[in-house]
């Protein structure tokens, strides 16, 4: 199957080389860097190294970056698209496990999860993760241990959903939508690193806003997604 790795990058000049090298060295899949109009030299670094890069003329956020990657995957006939962070937290060697789940037909969406086998630690961040897990459980009866993981593989059906519905984001609420549409979601144990350079976009206020958005979307919007009839 044709696999595309989508690497969204915003101001990642220090991390992007390492990420792409990791992807090229440890996988045989195609990749595309989506440069979300970075203010630093991310684009120059990509060009210098001859990376396959899509460059947005205006900054539109992570969601738009992933949506652009999905459009690219759709137009170029890819069967699987993987969302992979450009900040060096994800390790490409785990991607083949995600792809395997989809290739074998076990899942439409495979998530690289930190907590399938390992315990979730008790921190503020993980409290958010737990709450979202609970919300997903209440709405879909499905246990997702690491809903906020940014490492997800989508099959062709999910790619098509992304291309045709601009309201879908690369966030946990989309998982609820996909589950309601009778798609299978499977988690695969992976390890993630702490980021080395640059800063995470999560500040306390943003976290609260994020949680509010997620709860609103999961309970009031995605929860009411019309179920696809079986058979």
């Amino acid at each position: 199957m044709k696999v595309l790795i989508i690497i969204p990058a915003y101001n990642e000049e220090k991390n992007i080389e390492k990420t792409v090298n990791d992807v090229v060295k440890n996988t045989s899949y195609d990749y595309v860097v989506v440069n979300d109009c970075s203010k630093d030299k991310t684009f120059e670094v990509c060009k210098k190294n001859g990376y396959n890069v899509l460059s947005l003329p205006v900054n539109y956020g992570l969601t738009s970056g992933i949506q652009l990657g999905m459009k690219y995957a759709y137009q170029n006939g890819y069967d699987i698209a993987i969302q992979f962070d450009g900040d060096g937290q994800h390790q490409a060697s785990y991607l083949k496990d995600l792809v395997k789940e989809i290739e074998e037909g076990n899942a439409n969406i495979a998530i690289g999860s930190r907590f399938v086998e390992e315990k979730k630690p008790f921190s503020m961040r993980m409290l958010g993760s737990r709450l979202i897990s609970l919300a997903i459980k209440l709405t879909t009866f499905k246990r997702i241990t690491d809903p906020t993981s940014g490492m997800r593989a989508y099959d062709r059906q999910a790619i098509e959903a992304f291309v045709s519905d601009a309201s879908l984001t690369p966030e946990p609420d989309t998982l609820v939508y996909m589950l309601k549409k009778n798609m299978k979601v499977k988690e695969v144990q992976v390890e993630m690193k702490e980021r080395e350079f640059g800063e995470s976009y999560l500040s306390p206020l943003k976290s609260v806003k994020y949680m509010a958005n997620m709860f609103f979307s999961i309970f009031l919007i995605r929860n009411l997604t019309r179920k696809k009839r079986v058979g």
Binding site: V58, S64, Q67
Partner: protein, 119 residues
């Protein structure tokens, strides 16, 4: 309704109509957008001139004072306008995003073509 209030409503409505027409002439406002404001102004003028109608409606609906009825109409009108504006902003936002995506994909194709020609 007091005469003062009616006078204020009429004057402000006329001013807003004049502003709308001026902006249309300067091409800073589209006719289809201005029409809503004009209609709103006409409604206010109508309510000021025929204040008997307002009083009749207000008593019928159980408002304590006719002026409250005027306020309710104005607030409802504004809320609907804000809502429609919000829809419009979202639509424009999506359109700009689509254009940005289109540009990114096009540039990528152009680059690939250039590389092919050079290689």
């Amino acid at each position: 309704m007091s005469v003062t209030l009616r006078a204020i409503l009429i004057v402000s409505s006329i001013i807003s109509c004049i502003l709308c027409i001026k902006k249309i002439k300067q091409a800073k406002l589209k006719v289809e957008n201005a029409i809503v404001w004009m209609l709103g102004s006409f409604l206010l003028i109508f309510m000021s001139i025929f204040s008997g109608v307002v009083e009749w409606c207000a008593t019928g609906l159980g408002f304590e004072a006719p002026v409250n009825f005027v306020f309710v109409i104005v607030i409802a009108f504004l809320l609907i306008e804000v809502y429609l504006n919000n829809l419009k902003i979202t639509e424009l936002n999506e359109k700009i995003k689509d254009i940005a995506h289109h540009i990114a994909i096009n540039e990528h194709e152009n680059d690939e073509e250039k590389e092919k020609n050079n290689g």
